[in-house]
Amino acid sequence: MPLALLKYGFRRKYKGDKYFPAARPLKDTYDVVIIGGGGHGLACAYYLASDWGIADVAVLEKGWLASGNTARNTAIIRANYLTPAGALFYEESMRLWRSLAGELGINLMYSERGHLTLAHSDAALRTSRWRAEVNQHLGIDSELVGRDEIAKLCPEINLSEEVRYPVLGALYHPPGAIARHDAVAWGYARGAMHSGIEIHQQTEVTGIKKHVGGSIELETNRGSITAGTVVQAVAGMSSEVARMAGFKLPIRSIPLQACVSEPLKPFLDPIVVSGSLHVYVSQSARGELVMGGATDPYPLYSTRSTLDFTERLMASMLELFPFLENAKVLRQWAGIADMTPDFSPVMGLTPISKYYIDAGWGTWGFKATPVCGKCMAELTATGKVPDLIRSFELERFGRMEQVGERGAAAVGH
């Protein structure tokens, strides 16, 4: 067998395809330039080609492909949000997720586990009931469950009343899922490149100028280029890039940390979140517990890790799963989250014509990658804001209007 495999490997006839086509030189001008080669930028590029036949597009990425929050997130996908605008938007994303692996031809390991948001107080129970009602009204599979049902769904959770914050109930969302985040970026990138779209890594936008004629000039570390339309999708760097373009955003850049344990025997089916304890956890296909909590306490543009975070997180983990006391943390990391005051994104028009924004994704934007890419592509192609994202426009803040999702997104990303 190994010998046959070796012979197979040396045959010319079976030379494998390169996953990505070879990189091309940077041109002087493009119809569309997307700043930021994370999941969002790449999805937008992919749908520009597949839905609208627009392929004179360059994606500029200052690091390597999807090295930002797309590579750092904990991959939770759900639609049980609090506002109708939010819930409907994320529900459409889940519909796209279910057929995405087939469409992109890559195994996304999309795995529906069920998602439990534990409530430890009357206030949390009330929010859970509220979310369940909004969700059911919109046709989203979501319900409030009691302690008996939690014990059935996840017998490993410590339901003892001899703890600081006993579990009173939970919001249960059966379609809650996780996916392989890198594959999402690679799948969209390959699809886009096969339609002729260029992805330029190690290409950082350093300045932005609007010309009288309408075109937009982007300075980069590899020379300047001109774009008919620009889409900005740079997550934690949103304010800095918007500053180059000349406008301000309702965003604070704050680190969000996460960590994984050593691989353990599979024991945890659902994704478990506790807002009161500031912890969430799921078990990956490799057996690692993927764990995180709320953002760091103050704004910062550094992806350092802190002991404060792990210490606090583990105290909560051990309250929920005391039998993990000897498990070890394997890796810890951070990403810079672009946090908005209402825990909803900012998508659509900006004060600059033909300069569109996709930002404010904070700690919750991975799940929106497909739907956001599709909507931003539609906006770029037609110049009209799709209904699905109208509520998330930057202008809402000027009218003192918020799409308040704090109750559904502060810890359970």
Partner: protein, 96 residues
């Protein structure tokens, strides 16, 4: 940034403090709504040296921290009166 040198209480563990956001000029009470919306929601969110309000929670004491948001270094901590007096002399820095 594990220890913050509080002007009132001396060096204390960073966990005892909360960040209250950038030092900015509040609009006048009768300013237009867009001025107020800007003040309430929009952020400079600068990568670099910023002046911020911080509070030492156990003593409810508010003061000004100058820190670098790229390197996580604290450059100075000052009493508000000291900070704003300095501003008047150098004119400008930290306003907005």
């Amino acid at each position: 940034m594990k220890i913050i040198d509080c002007p009132l209480n001396g060096p204390r563990n960073a966990q005892e403090f909360v960040c209250g956001g950038e030092v900015r000029q509040e609009p006048s009470q009768d300013a237009a709504i867009d001025k107020w919306a800007d003040f309430v929601f929009l952020e400079n969110n600068l990568q670099g040296v910023v002046h911020e309000w911080w509070c030492h929670v156990p003593t409810s004491y508010w003061f000004i921290v100058t820190r670098n948001t790229a390197t996580e270094e604290i450059i100075a901590t000052r009493r508000p009166d000291e900070f704003f007096a300095g501003l008047k002399q150098t004119d400008g820095a930290g306003s907005e």
